[in-house]
Every structure is written in C-alpha cells, then in structure tokens.
Amino acid sequence: MVKRFFEWVIGPMGRIAVVIVGMFVFSLAAFGVYQTQQNPKPQPIQFPHNLHVGLGIQCLYCHPGASKGPSAGLPTISKCWGCHQQIAKTQTSPKLKPLLDAMTNGTNFVWVPVAKVPEFVHFNHRPHIAAGLNCENCHGDMTKVTIAENPQVMNMGWCLNCHRQRAGDDEAKLTKLTDCGTCHY
C-alpha cells in the first residue's frame, strides 16, 4: 500500500500533486511570514523623538518605569501637557490637536508600542538598566528618529547573544542569563 503510494507520487500525476501541495504550503507559509512582518499602525501623534531628546529631555523623564520595574511605560497625557501648556504652538498646531482634544474634552488617544515582545516572554527593564545598559543599546539612537522604530528584530537569538556576551566566563551568570525560566513562565 505504502509502496504503491510512493510509486504514484513519483509518477507524473504525483509530481503535479506534489507541486500543487508544495505551492499551497508555500503560500500558507508566506502568509504566516507576512502576518508577522506587518508594519505598525500609524501613531496618533507623529511624535518627534529627535526634537525632544535634542531639547535635552532625558528618556527616563517620560519613561520612568524603566528604572523601577518591568515596564518603561508610555507617558500619561497630563505629563505631555505639563510642558506643552506653556508652549503657544500647542494651541494652534494641527499635529498637536489630539493632545489638545485630550486635555480639553477628555478624549483619550492610543499609542502603538513598537518595542514589544510576545506575551510568553517576561521582559523586565529594571535589571537591564541596573546592569549598565543604556536605552539606545536596544532602542536605537532616538536623536535620529522621529517616530520610534525598532532598530532590530527583538527575537530570542538577539537576547541570548547579548546575554552570552555579558556573562563572559562567569559560569553562574551564564547559567542564570541563559536559563529558560529567566524569561519564560
């Protein structure tokens, strides 16, 4: 039975079938890859990171959670307003209209986080900052971008590369930094 099937497969009809099945599988795979490689949705405000960093504002001013806990956090709108209420342009600029609306009408808006790991990964900012990493090590140079973009694919190989480098010859550290349970639980 199995032998007859294989004979059919290497016959002409079989080859066509294999090609069709192959194309089908390939298209599914391509769709899957496409699904994971989509661009992020547009942000509500075209936030110019370069401008803000250029003005000398520290990353931790707007993302203070990074030094305290797992999530760096997106700033509350009242935090934006703390500075922007003193800037005349805020009242007139069309780009800043969502901010003005939020403060006057209470219509909140939503950010689209760009640096995001899947839900089965538990990333914690605090130990990374404590280990002496700077924000730009992972998130890129914010003086050069307007809307934040991920400078690299944040996959496990990338995490582990760095973890291995940092651990160096320290066996205990390497064990800890390459342990599955450090991130997956």
Binding site: A29, G32, V33, S78, V110, V112
Partner: protein, 726 residues
C-alpha cells in the same frame, strides 16, 4: 530517476513539512501590534507595570477577614490576606480568593433597571437620578410602619445606616438574615449563652489554646462563624505546642470536612447530641469523684449510649481523656443545633464546659467582646423571626421592601413562602449586585458596588480583640453601580424633613467617619488625634482593633446548676432517613456564580460543579443504588432529584446534601446547576426559633435515571468501585 523513493528524500520531505508547520504555528491569531491607551492622568500611587496594594475587608461572608488586594493599572489582580488583621493574620479562604471573579463577573447587574418582576434581568435601564427619586418617593409616600428593610449579614456600616434611618422615621428595625447564619444556628448559640450567662452575646471558644477539643457538629473548618480564624486556631491547637499534639474529637452523623480532620469521628444518631453531652458530663463528674452537679444528675449514660448508637466504653474513654486534659474544650454548632432540641444541645455543651472548669481560662469558653463602636450584640434574625416577617408581608403589613445583600428566595426553604410573600408586597426595591432570584422578583434593581469597590466597615464576630474591619474601594466601579448607602443618603436628602435630618451626611464616607469618631484618641493598633488622620490610618491598615484581648469570663455556676430534662430530638416526616443538609465548604451560601469556586473539588467527595446526595454504600447496596444513580429525596415539603455519591463516612440511616447550588438565576455559572436541598426542608424550628434543618426524616426514591458527577478523584477510587465491572 529510480522508482524507489530513498530514505533520504523522505526525510527531506518530512523535515520541510515540519518546518512549515513550525512557521505556521508560530503565527497564531494573537495580533502582532496592540493599542495601548495611557492614562489621561495617572492615579496617585500607581506606576506603570508596578502593583499597588490596598487594604480592605472581605465580603464573601460576614466574618470580616482583612484583605490586601494587589491592583495593577486600576485592575484588581490578586487577593492576599492582611497580615496585621487579628481575624485572619494574613490568611484567606478559597471564597475570599475567588472574590475577584465576583468583581469581574460577566453576569453582574450593570445598570439600575426597572425589573418589574420579570423572569430575566430587565434591559430597561434607569438614570441614577430617577432611581434615587424612586427610593425617595417610596420613603416619603409610605407610612413608616409599612416600610421594611431586609439586610444581609454584611456589610455592617450599611446596616447601621439603615437602622439609623428606620429609627429616625419610625419604621421597624431592619431585619438581618443570611443562609450561613441559618445553618450555623447563630440565634440558638447566642440564646444559649443568654440563658446560661445572663447576657446577650456570642460565646467565644479559645480553640488555639485548647489541647483536647470535642465538637458537637460544629463545622468550624468550613463555614461556621469565621472559618479562617478557626482554621488558624485549629493549626495552633494541633501543632502549636511542641510538647503535645492537640487531640480532636467530632460527634457528627456524617463525616464533614471538619470531622475528617478529627482524631476520632463518632457518628452518633442525629438528635442525641444533648444527651451525649450530658452523659459525658456525668461520666466526667463520676470519674473525678464527688457529687454529680444538678445539670448531669438525671442522665443515664448507658441508655444514652444505646440511644445514640454508641458504645458506652467510647464515652467512658472520652470522659477520661477530657478529665486528663489540661485545656479541654467542647464546641456546639452546626447540625447539633439545627435539631428540634438544638437549644438544649447548645446549653448542655456549655454546661459541660462549665463542668470542665474552662470558663475564662486559656483554651476555654469566654464571652466575645463587643466590636468597637457597637452598643450591643445584634444577632441575625432566626428562621422564626423570618417566618413572622413573611407573615407580615403576606398580610399586607409591608408596602415597601428594601432588600440588600441577601437572597431569601433561594436561601430560605420554599415552604416558608418567601417568594409568595414578596409577590404581595406592592413595591420591592433590590440593591443586589448580581441578578439573583430575589432581585429578579423586585420592581427595581439599583445595583450596589461589589465589595471590592465599596467603602464600609464590618465587625468581627469571632475575635478575642474587638475588631472593626475597614473596607475601601480597591478599584473604581466597573459598571454603572452606586453605593447603596449613597443612594439612601441622596434619597433622604431629596425627601427632606425628618429623612434629611436622620441622615445629615454628604456621602457614605462622611457617615462612616461619624461612626468612627468615637474611636479617635483610643488606644489601639494605631491611634490618631483627629478624625481625618484616623480615617486615613483606618484605610491604610484595613481597620481598627485593640492591642489586647478583652474577653469576659462567664459565670459557670448557673450553667452547672441548670436542670435539664434530657430527651432526644423529635423528627418530623415519615421517611426512613434522617436528612442532613450542610453548607458546601467550597461554595458557601453565595459562591455558585464564581467559576473557580465551582471548579474546586469538594474536600471530602471531590465533586465539582453539581449537587450530590451522600449515602452510605451499605444502605445504597440494600436499596440497589449505585454511584451516580439519580434519586429523589421526598419530604412533606416536596422533593428534589440529585445523583448519589456513595459516601463511606456517613451513618447508614442518614442522607446528606450540600447547600449552595440549585439556582434558577444568579448568572450563567449558577443558574440551572444542581438542586437546592432547602426545597426539601419544612417549617420547623428549635426552641430558640432557629430552623430545625437537620430535624427531618425523608424518603429516598429511585428514579432510574443516571447523572455522572464530575469528580476530581479517580472513578476507580472509593472502595475499588468500578474495578469489578471491568
């Protein structure tokens, strides 16, 4: 090309297939990008990704355990115990843990509605202003004597507020009721204390310092009074002293979860508890030598032993154990008090304690202190008082009924006719958080917040220290609900006149502060010089309690001198079996709407998600009944059908059923699941007016149907059942 496919090619194909599968499964439907809405304004004390903890009080039962709730970004994530709180010292029970599934329950009443006594939750929502107008009109336009308030066992601050309101406008005092109180026979216990100690109070049993504990049906590890406090006490009794291990004996016709932890479980004939207690007393007095006190003089241990279905030697041995004990303690409760002679049982057990000389000693019996800011002990209504209340409703004596925190249509036996009485009340306003049976039978449902969204306080019933446990919202209300206290305050203000004068408070918090004012400057867990800082500490620490216990010692003389006329309890009904309903240890009275409480296995039977009938395997064998056979339990009041669980630890003449299921409403997890054993119970009381829930005999009829119970245990578990059929 060869006609043979090589092994190598096959592997190549297989690998390609596997890789494709891996790619495909790697892209699940989880969206790659998410929206994240930041706070417009960050609430105080919160940080992104960090938890904030708030102290509050559990409202799953009335025991007043202190909780610390972990919240994150405005959501309540986890319930933990308040480590400083004298009632639970950082511990919780399963029901307390699952309170979050009540908060985030898909079947809550989301808006105030004009229910109009429909079968389903009404979709006709109201504006809160209109709702307050309705309450206000009801208060103003009704003769005060025809207004009635029916309140649950928690929370106490609302009960106080409603009591003040009723008092000021000349309405009858609010009636307080709960199924737990009914099955605990609280009224009986406090009546016994009143009769013997001359004071209306709850007796306090110092379990943790006792070394030999004998319990008559008190299921204190399950739902009785304050299960977490008693479980802590039990653990200390068992292992707290490195010198000796506490010894625990339980008299009960069925092995309850509590009895299963006993070193000796003694299945006595139901209704003979008071006789056995008195016989023990006589044997103890005789073993010690000297005169037998009046209370125990007229009892004959040999007759009692045969009446109760016990061996005399068992009682003699137990008497000797109690005589030798340093700190003996005997506890009455539960099924023992729910008999026709329940009060006699409670009194004889208290007299037995008096004989053992443990009043006022460590490991003995005390009088519970009053809670802070409490004038006198108010016990909940007994079943008899509820029957009187129902009679008043039926006779048209109640024109407006306000119901909060209790579900009598489900909790009271059908025979009491609460549902019919409710139908004869012209206006019923419910403040239920969930669409339970009673709420659906109301004209309006003006939903209260969930306990974790509420302000309030609750008094501890079982505590050596006076405790006033504080509640505060740990999250903002999820639905369009409003605190019932605020509704009454607003309605009273709208009505003006004597109503506004009775409740001159801006809001619920102002009312609570007025009650706390007396504690300012008092020495306790914290002390504060003025009310605002007192309230702040009260919220921060989850309540206020004294540093030292203030237990009173009752007088033993009157207890020991009381003359009993010992008699076994009388049973109603013609059936062959004693009927013993008990509160489900996992569900309690109101846990059926929380999926994880349903999913918990009953400790002794491991049954989940349903009701069962416990029957001794011998009895079942004689009747030709097997596991999962559906039987009908028939009494004068009616019948219910449920599958049988062959329970190896129950007297052959007793049938037991858990209370907690059998809802016809109360959300998707509760409705239409299991049966309610209260439907079998008739209107019978003990001497103290409590329901004689264990004082009936029932018939068991086979139905020929089968319903497989979901159990956690292996089905080839109990006594090799199932093995022989293979």
């Amino acid at each position: 090309m060869s006609k043979q496919i090589s092994r190598r090619d096959f592997l190549k194909l297989a690998t390609a297939g596997a890789a494709t599968t891996a790619v495909l499964t790697g892209c699940g439907p989880t969206s790659r990008f998410v929206d994240r809405e930041p706070y417009l304004k960050m609430p105080e004390y919160t940080y992104n990704g960090m938890s904030t903890y708030y102290a509050t009080t559990c409202r799953e039962c009335a025991a007043a355990c202190g909780l610390v709730v972990r919240t994150m970004q405005g959501r309540a994530i986890k319930v933990e115990g308040n480590a400083n709180h004298p009632v639970n010292l950082g511990k919780t029970c399963a029901r307390g843990q699952a309170t979050l599934q009540g908060l985030y329950n898909p079947d809550r009443v989301e808006n105030p509605v004009k229910q109009a006594r429909g079968a389903q939750l009404s979709q006709e929502t109201l504006d809160w202003n209109a709702a307050i107008q309705i309450v206000s009109d009801a208060l103003q336009n009704t003769d005060p004597s025809e207004i009635a308030f029916l309140m649950g066992m928690a929370p106490d601050h609302l009960f106080d507020l409603v009591s003040d309101l009723a008092n000021a406008i000349g309405a009858p005092a609010p009636v307080r009721f709960g199924a737990l109180g009914m099955f605990e026979a609280r009224a009986t216990l406090s009546k016994a204390a009143e009769n013997l100690f001359g004071k209306v109070s709850m007796p306090f049993f110092d379990l943790e310092n006792a070394d030999v504990v004998v319990s008559f049906g008190a299921n204190f590890l399950e739902t009785w009074l304050s299960p977490v406090a008693f479980t802590r006490g039990f653990a200390k009794m068992r292992r707290g002293n490195p010198e000796r291990r506490g010894y625990f004996v339980q008299f009960e016709p069925r092995m309850s979860q509590t009895a299963s932890k006993a070193d000796e479980w003694i299945p006595l004939r139901p209704g003979t508890e008071s006789l056995v207690a008195l016989a023990l007393g006589r044997l103890i007095a005789e073993a010690r030598g000297g005169a037998v006190p009046a209370a125990f003089a007229s009892i004959d241990p040999l007759t009692v032993a045969s009446d109760a279905g016990l061996k005399l030697e068992t009682l003699e041995r137990l008497a000797q154990t109690l005589v030798n004990a340093h700190h003996p303690l005997v506890i009455p409760g539960g099924a023992a008090l729910g008999q026709g002679n329940g009060l006699a049982a409670a009194e004889s057990v208290l007299a037995l304690n008096a004989l053992l000389g443990n009043f006022g000693l460590p490991g003995g019996v005390f009088v519970s202190p009053l809670a802070p800011a409490q004038d006198a002990y108010h016990r909940p209504a007994s079943a008899k008082e509820m029957a009187d209340f129902i009679a008043k409703m039926k006779s048209g004596g109640v024109k407006v009924l306000f119901i909060h925190g209790v579900n009598p249509v489900f909790e009271m036996p059908k025979q009491f006719g609460f549902a019919e009485a409710l139908a004869s009340v012209p206006q019923v306003i419910s403040f239920a958080t969930f669409p339970d049976e009673t709420a659906l039978a109301a004209d309006y449902i003006l939903p209260d917040h969930h306990g974790l969204e509420s302000w309030g306080y609750q008094r501890a019933v079982v505590s050596a220290k006076p405790v006033l446990s504080g509640a505060q919202p740990v999250v903002t209300p999820y639905f369009n609900t409003r605190a019932t206290a605020d509704v009454f305050l607003a309605a009273a203000a709208l009505a003006g006149g004597k109503f506004a004068a009775a409740l001159p408070f801006a809001d619920e918090v102002a009312f609570i502060q007025s009650k706390l004012a007396g504690l300012v400057g008092e020495e306790g867990f914290f002390a504060a010089p003025e009310i605002n800082s007192f309230t702040a500490y009260f919220q921060q620490y989850g309540g206020w309690w004294t540093n030292d216990p203030s237990l009173a010692t009752p007088s033993a003389a009157s207890a020991i001198a009381k003359r009993f006329t010992p008699a076994a309890a009388e049973f109603t009904g013609e059936g062959e079996f004693f009927f013993l309903p008990f509160v489900s240890p996992t569900l309690g009275e109101a846990g059926a709407n929380k999926p994880w409480l349903q999913e918990l296995a009953d400790p002794t039977t491991t049954v989940m998600w349903n009701t069962w009938v416990e029957m001794n395997p011998e009895t079942a064998h004689e009747l030709g009944i097997e596991n999962d056979d559906v039987v009908q339990i028939v009494s004068e009041a009616g019948g219910v059908e449920a599958p049988v669980y062959l329970y190896p630890a129950i007297r052959p003449d007793v049938i037991a059923m858990p209370f907690g299921q059998g809802h016809t409403a109360y959300g998707r997890f509760a409705a239409g699941r299991g049966v309610n054993p209260a439907d079998v119970l008739g209107v019978h009381f003990n001497e103290a007016g409590d329901l004689a829930f264990a004082g009936m005999k029932v018939e068991v009829k086979k139905t020929g149907k089968k319903k497989i119970l979901s159990r956690l245990e292996s089905r080839i578990g109990v006594y090799g059942e199932g093995l022989e059929k293979e």
